[in-house]
Symmetry: C2
Subunit: 211 residues, 2 copies
Amino acid sequence: MESTKGKALSMPTIKRLPAYLNVLRRLAREGAELVSTTTLIDELGLEPVLVRKDLASLGLAGKPRLGYPLKELVAGIEAGLGWNKADEAFLFGAGSLGRALLGYKPFEENGLKIVAAFDADPAKVGQELHGKPVLPLSEAEELLRRMAVKVAVLCVPAEAAQPLADMLVPCGVRGIWNFSAAKLKVPEGVVCHNEDLCCGLAVFTVKMKNA
Amino acid sequence: MESTKGKALSMPTIKRLPAYLNVLRRLAREGAELVSTTTLIDELGLEPVLVRKDLASLGLAGKPRLGYPLKELVAGIEAGLGWNKADEAFLFGAGSLGRALLGYKPFEENGLKIVAAFDADPAKVGQELHGKPVLPLSEAEELLRRMAVKVAVLCVPAEAAQPLADMLVPCGVRGIWNFSAAKLKVPEGVVCHNEDLCCGLAVFTVKMKNA
DNA sequence: TAGATTGTTAATCGATTAACAATC
DNA sequence: TAGATTGTTAATCGATTAACAATC
């Protein structure tokens, strides 16, 4: 019973949408109103049919010969990704990766609003990073409940990730974006997405080996 | 004419290998010598056949009933990923993401040795981050050639990425790991791998929407 | 009308899963 | 020998590509 019509988004489609959005938003800033897929195809080097199928799976339609209405495209993709309303999130682990994500602009513009960071290390607590406070980990439970925060970004060492997740879930966290190398076990109904930068490195190094 | 026997690695296989390596290295530290795929399956929640096919595609063989020799597994995966010899790399853009990657331990242990950072902003130049110097961008060309550095990690703003790539390639850079949102055009023979954190965010937010 | 672009249906390709054989 | 695990071959599933129809 999803609100968006069209088929469910496939994983490859989901991963292509942010790139579409990048190009389309720029075109919108430049004042375009209608856009044909050829623009996306040229800029991103994709197959025409692929792009149109992706858009169709979002329930978006264009006009032959003219193209798609740009505003609807942008809004449709944002809605499809859930980027139209920004969730408030807490970040855990104010190491260098955590600090980088805390200040990472594209997240704010795209459905993820990190409002505070937490760290177990008293030396890291108290500072403000990118305008967001670093608070003691011990305060996390109460704040999660009081602010009804549903999303957590994990940048803690691998050993600390599972115990932390076990604390977060009972506090109402429904989504965990995990940048640690640990593979987390979470109960049914809680979303956990692992973002291991080493997977990206693996793809890169293999590509280089084969080049 | 690759040295490793077995079929070429598929993209999904490549992305699973780092997780295998994580588990296997820990088992090796714990003193194991033979390991059956059931361990990997349990820890990572994967299909048994998938794991064995992945290992077979690396040319690795086990003994029925006993398992695979752990050392050979680790060495085989490292070799398959090209993680057995660490490439020297330069990082461009010493913003917060760049600084985080500069100090990201897993890279050093896995075939990517970032030895210096470069930035166009004089205010960022001169400092040492994680024991690595931040140098003025103007020195990059000469140093790339002199040190024969073949790998570049890009953490610059999207607008700066393409001009930078155009400068790097003539200096001998053969691989570009691009953390900016820009889609780069590079000549044949130069590897460019885009690592857009927003793709990961997209997968995460859609998962949450559907949960 | 002609032509470009959208939209759909069928064919291909690749990865995962299933079933089973081989072996220590 | 019996049983667990490896290894292989065939079936399924999903995504991409190709071919073509529809429409502004």
